[in-house]
């Protein structure tokens, strides 16, 4: 091999490098603009807000306090409450929603189901309603004198109206119910579209081999949907950790601070309490760190263990 390259005239190699350089330069120019823009509008603010998170004080009178803000986090009852709330929503709502979404998707993928597109539309419809509008409706549904209580009273299931939004636990249940209603259809669409890409032949072959519907679901559907399940669970995790609108509109973080989320707490620190931009930045970094960690765990847990055996 080496003696072949030796025979090549050096001039040609230089021209080759030059054309390659020119070609690369065009590519670099193309990505230069986004790199600069991302640098200015994303990277620089991130670095700057990290610097901000090491300072404390009110308004613009900030002093450098090192890691004090980060130790303050662990003593902050509201932050811990918010963190617990986010994790509660995450642990209950995300699996619930993904399972429901999968179930709907599989049911609605059946070729012999009548009014299929009508049902699909019904389940997807919540995903296109305005966040504020649906949250307001949920607030009224679960009001002390709301329709949920009216129905339960009417059916004789309860004696006195339940204070859904007044009790810390029930208020969280309400938020989870609302989130599930709003986002299940959205995730279902992803599953449905990838279900339609699964070759019918695989199911037929499994049937011939004697697999029942449950086996087909767990041995064929779930493994083939794995990338999309991973995608939706990461998106839902991020969405839940950044939850803001629903909580603000349904309970405003109440009763007391029982349903407050981390993003709402950041907002309160910035705009409602005496503005402490440094500490608010610290909480933002805590959120970022958690999203990163959870995403890495999710990638790791659902990684493709068969990959090394795959032929190129």
């Amino acid at each position: 091999m080496s003696n072949i390259s030796l025979k090549e005239p050096p001039q040609a190699k230089r021209t080759l490098n030059l054309t390659r350089f020119k070609r690369d330069l065009v590519g670099w120019c193309f990505i230069l603009a986004p790199v600069i823009l991302i640098g200015i509008f994303v990277v620089y603010p991130m670095i700057n807000s990290f610097h901000l998170s090491l300072q404390s004080g009110v308004g613009r009178n900030l002093n450098f306090v090192g890691l004090d803000n980060y130790t303050r986090l662990f003593q902050d009852r509201t932050f811990i409450r918010a963190l617990q709330n986010n994790l509660t929503y995450l642990a209950i709502q995300v699996p619930l929603m993904i399972l429901l979404g999968l179930l709907y998707a599989v049911l609605l993928n059946k070729k012999d189901l009548k009014f299929r597109s009508f049902f699909r539309m019904c389940i997807f419809l919540p995903a296109i309603t305005s966040l504020m509008a649906y949250a307001t409706v949920f607030r009224y549904l679960f009001d002390q004198q709301g329709i949920i209580n009216a129905l339960l009273l009417n059916w004789g299931l309860i004696q006195d109206p339940i204070g859904w939004l007044m009790n810390p636990v029930l208020a969280r249940v309400t938020i989870i119910a609302a989130l599930t209603w709003r986002w299940t259809g959205y995730n279902m669409i992803f599953y449905l579209s990838s279900l339609q890409n699964i070759d019918e032949g695989i199911y037929e072959a499994a049937k011939i081999d004697g697999a029942n519907a449950v086996q087909a679901f767990f041995k064929i559907t779930i493994p083939l949907l794995k990338p999309i399940i991973l995608f939706t669970s990461i998106m839902s995790t991020i969405g839940t950790l950044q939850l803001f609108d629903e909580v603000v509109q349904i309970t405003d973080g109440g009763p007391g601070q029982a349903t407050v989320t981390m993003t709402q707490y950041i907002f309160n620190l910035m705009f409602w309490y005496n503005p402490d931009f440094g500490y608010a930045a610290t909480v933002s970094f805590a959120v970022l760190l958690m999203i990163l960690t959870l995403s890495v765990i999710q990638f790791w847990a659902t990684r493709d263990r068969d990959k090394p055996r795959r032929r190129a």
């Binding site: 204070g163 939004l165 810390p168 009763p255 309160n268 409602w272 005496n274």
Partner: protein
């Protein structure tokens, strides 16, 4: 090569365009005779502004007054962002600021406001409002509406239980509890409607009536567990809830529904609730206004407190001189204007010369001829001074959390208030 040049050219063009856009903010140095004002309620403070513009334009026809409706939350956010960024571009000449936010702005960013105190007489405003809107002894905001509190009661329901309006006049909360029990027994009607998930308003009314606040005299140190007024207010609320004498509401709509469907016989609250109480014409003549119940056995407790109220702040942007002239001509010094505010819009201001105005003593037909605004105005002058300080919203969340813990999770009162105090101590130092 041509391609390369065009690509580089295009990239540069794109970048310059992007940055060019960011660079060319409006440079409003023309000194045009116009001022921009932000307020949030078309039925109330914006209506008041329109009236003020009318008054001002009658004398100064060449000044254009632009009134913009900006949501209450949005005003706070936009001012905070602008001050933190150190840029005043895009801010109005005058913004309406709620009293709980005023010290946060003044103690952090007073250099961005124009001290109107030099242009208007501070004696023109109810005594308790002046320190709220002042910093280092200078008044920055022109106080607008009063948040004087009272209690609207349904004398027809009281009569069914054998009580008269005199029985609920100038009472304390334990007396109110006794009457409430009797009324509930006789009629099945509870006393008042309260959002038990957010009880900051209830706490503030009782604290101001006792001349105290979440913070001590310095406006900085949060005092929750050693405050007799907070403790008593919590005890009172717990007693009312335990005896099932309170209706819970989730928001203003259900609150109004509770009032207007005769689920409650009292509306303890501020003067600005008057239009809401009047929403149901069918109940005209059934409501009477009495003073707010005072906290029992608390030193300095009165029947006169405050909830809410706002002031006009001039921002240090070009045109502040015209803005100052506008405010001092209307809200700052003009009795005729304040009379018109009351008669045309129903807005009761904290303007003290109004006290002697005949407009104030006019009987109010909805309240059976009772001159309610005069009463609110007299009570406003009796409100003990209190220092709102910096931590009102933080205090609200502390109190609401403690009350939820006490009512819903069965936590001991001392325990919950100590936890709130501990939270404040660790977070504010």
């Amino acid at each position: 090569m041509k391609k390369l040049v065009s690509v580089i050219g295009a990239s540069i063009l794109m970048l310059t365009l992007l940055f060019g856009l960011a660079g060319c903010g409006s440079d409003n140095d023309s000194g045009a005779e116009q001022i921009v004002i932000w307020a949030w309620d078309p039925a109330f403070n914006i209506a008041a502004l329109e009236l003020a513009a009318e008054f001002f334009n009658a004398e100064n026809p060449d000044v254009e007054i632009i009134i913009e409706e900006v949501a209450f939350d949005s005003i706070v956010q936009q001012l905070n962002i602008a001050f933190a960024a150190g840029t005043m571009t895009g801010l109005p000449n005058i913004a309406l600021v709620e009293q709980y936010q005023s010290q946060v702005f003044l103690q952090n960013f007073s250099e961005h406001f124009y001290p109107i105190g030099n242009r208007v007489n501070t004696n023109n405003f109810a005594g308790y409002t002046v320190p709220i809107h002042s910093h280092n002894g200078v008044m920055y905001g022109v106080p607008f509406d009063t948040g004087a509190i009272g209690m609207f009661v349904r004398h027809d329901i009281l009569a069914q239980a054998g009580f008269s309006v005199e029985d609920v006049y100038m009472i304390d909360w334990w007396e109110a509890l006794e009457i409430s029990e009797a009324v509930f027994e006789a009629t099945g009607v509870r006393m008042f409607s309260q959002n038990l998930a957010a009880t900051g308003g209830y706490a503030r009314m009782n604290m101001t009536a006792s001349g105290t606040w979440y913070t001590g005299a310095d406006g900085q140190t949060v005092n929750i567990n050693n405050s007799p007024s907070i403790r008593r207010a919590v005890e009172v609320l717990k007693e009312f809830v335990d005896r099932d004498l309170v209706m819970h509401h989730g928001d203003a709509n259900t609150m109004h529904a509770n009032w207007h469907t005769s689920q409650v016989w009292a509306v303890p609250g501020a003067v600005w609730l008057t239009p809401s109480v009047m929403l149901d014409d069918g109940l005209s003549g059934q409501w009477t206004l009495v003073p707010y119940p005072r906290l029992p056995d608390v030193q300095g407790a009165t029947n006169f407190g405050n909830m809410g109220g706002s002031a006009w702040y001039i921002l240090d942007v070009p045109g502040y001189e015209i803005a100052a002239e506008f405010l001092s001509f209307t809200f700052g010094n003009n009795l005729e204007f304040h009379e018109a505010l009351l008669t045309e819009i129903g807005a009761l201001s904290v303007f003290t010369p109004l006290a002697n105005s005949p407009v104030l003593s006019e009987p109010h037909p909805f309240f059976g001829g009772q001159p309610i605004f005069q009463q609110f105005s007299i009570w406003a002058n009796n409100i003990p001074q209190f220092n709102v300080g910096l931590h009102t919203y933080f205090g609200n969340s502390l109190i609401s959390t403690a009350i939820v813990e006490i009512l819903e999770e069965g936590r001991d009162i001392d325990d919950a208030l100590n936890a709130a105090q501990h939270h404040a101590d660790t977070q504010l130092n």
